[in-house]
């Protein structure tokens, strides 16, 4: 819990302070050593977690997510066959499984957003925010709004839940038919891992500071 002081005196410039986003406790912002994190004393929320080359890493992960998502959409995902009958489904087919022309259609829209659109859009917004900073330019127009949206979308990005859902569904199907795994299945699995790495190296405090410095 280094890098911060509790009980901040009055008259300290605003940009030297940090309020815990979880519980609002106020601290002196001091950059913790590389690889360590500043944590709120009160609620243990993470305040600052700088990493060496963090922006480069974050952008690299985000680009990977976009590429893997594109692959996962177009390559075959899963297939089954039993007694001469066979069927294949792509990720998009899965999302559109509720498309019955009736009121279940709405659910397909949600699923498309949760497992395809939002995970991809988050990565694109992060690239939009950070790529110009990475090459030493001023942020693009609306970069702040883009980054805020990317952060707001976080709970609605459900790629990891989808892949666990796959595991559960496959156990059910395995009794019924033989299952074939397509390349998209492994791409989606990799995408989940890269998203976790992306979230782990994304430090809001450093990004907002960098946006303030450069624009």
């Amino acid at each position: 819990m280094d890098g911060t002081d509790a009980d901040v005196p009055a008259g300290v410039p605003l940009d030297e302070l940090i309020a815990c986003p979880q519980c609002d406790a106020l601290y002196h912002a001091r950059l913790p050593e590389d690889g360590t994190r500043a944590v709120c004393h009160r609620c243990h929320g993470v305040l600052i977690s700088p990493r060496r080359d963090a922006f480069l890493r974050v952008v690299a992960f985000a680009v990977t997510v976009v590429v893997l998502m594109a692959g996962a959409i177009f390559f075959p995902f899963l297939g089954v066959n039993v007694a001469g009958f066979s069927n294949r489904a792509s990720v998009v087919d899965t999302a559109l499984a509720f498309l019955d022309g009736g009121w279940m259609t709405g659910l397909s829209v949600f699923v498309v957003f949760f497992i395809i659109m939002i995970p991809a859009l988050r990565a694109i917004l992060v690239i939009y925010t950070l790529a110009p900073l990475l090459v030493g330019r001023a942020p693009l127009r609306g970069a702040r709004k883009a980054f805020r949206w990317a952060e707001d979308m976080r709970p609605w990005s459900m790629a990891e839940i989808f892949i666990i859902g796959c595991a559960v569904a496959l156990v059910k199907v395995a009794d019924l038919a033989r299952v074939e795994f397509g390349p998209a299945f492994f791409m989606f699995g990799a995408l989940v891992i890269v998203t976790v790495l992306l979230d782990g190296s994304l430090d809001r405090w450093s990004i907002w500071k960098a946006l303030d410095r450069t624009s």
Binding site: Q22, C23, D24, A25, R42, C43, L78, G79, V80, N81, V82, A83, F85, S86, N87, A89, D93, T94, A95, L96, A97, F98, D100, W103, M104, G106, L107, F110, V111, F114, I115, R144, K145, F147, R148, P155, W156, M158, I161, F162, I164, G165, C166, V168, A169, L170, V171, K172, V173, D175, L176, A177, W208, L211, D212
Partner: protein
């Protein structure tokens, strides 16, 4: 406060949004209402050769357990029953506890909030399972699986309770600790 908007990111500023509790309750109640049909109507329609069966969430889990897939049955029960119900209780408790002095320490209540926010999304697992099964198992008359009406009400229940958790401002938990404005 003089400023209405954050200079940095442009979002709306409000010191303590006590009206947020109303939104929490509203989303929570709608979420609970959606959870009722989600358990009464079938989640899956399975047709194997000439047999058609309809399973609700709980029936589906029991079916899995009877086939020997105990672990998977437990995951489904955990994600579709234990987590949503636990979440209703936890959010209601937090919303009540910030309005009156509470014996449980803020640290524990904050941990509870964090847990609820983290775990809530995982309830969607059953909706994705239904989506994958219905997309994959379409083998003419040999076997086919189709979603039942419970899928959408269950998904809505999860979405509404997620909105309830997001509407809750965890900073309110700390306002009664003797340091905040409402000491």
């Amino acid at each position: 406060m003089r400023q209405e908007r954050c200079e940095r990111c442009g979002s709306h500023l409000q010191s303590r949004d006590w009206g947020s509790l109303q939104r929490v309750w509203a989303w929570l109640v709608v979420g609970m209402i959606c959870y009722v049909p989600a358990n009464l109507f079938p989640m899956l329609r399975t047709q194997v050769l000439f047999n058609t069966s309809e399973d609700t969430i709980v029936e589906g889990a029991i079916e899995l357990a009877s086939h020997g897939n105990l672990g998977i049955a437990l995951i489904i029960l955990l994600a579709s029953v234990a987590i949503p119900v636990g979440k209703f209780i936890a959010i209601a408790y937090l919303a009540i506890s910030v309005a009156r002095p509470e014996r449980l320490r803020p640290k524990q209540r904050h941990r509870l909030y964090h847990f609820v926010e983290f775990i809530g999304r995982w309830s969607m697992i059953d909706v994705f399972v239904v989506a994958i099964l219905s997309a994959l198992v379409q083998l003419n008359f040999a076997a086919s699986i189709n979603p039942g009406p419970a899928a959408i009400t269950f998904a809505l229940s999860v979405i509404f309770t997620m909105l309830a958790a997001i509407s809750f401002d965890p900073r309110m938990i700390w306002d009664n600790d003797g340091r905040g404005p409402r000491a």
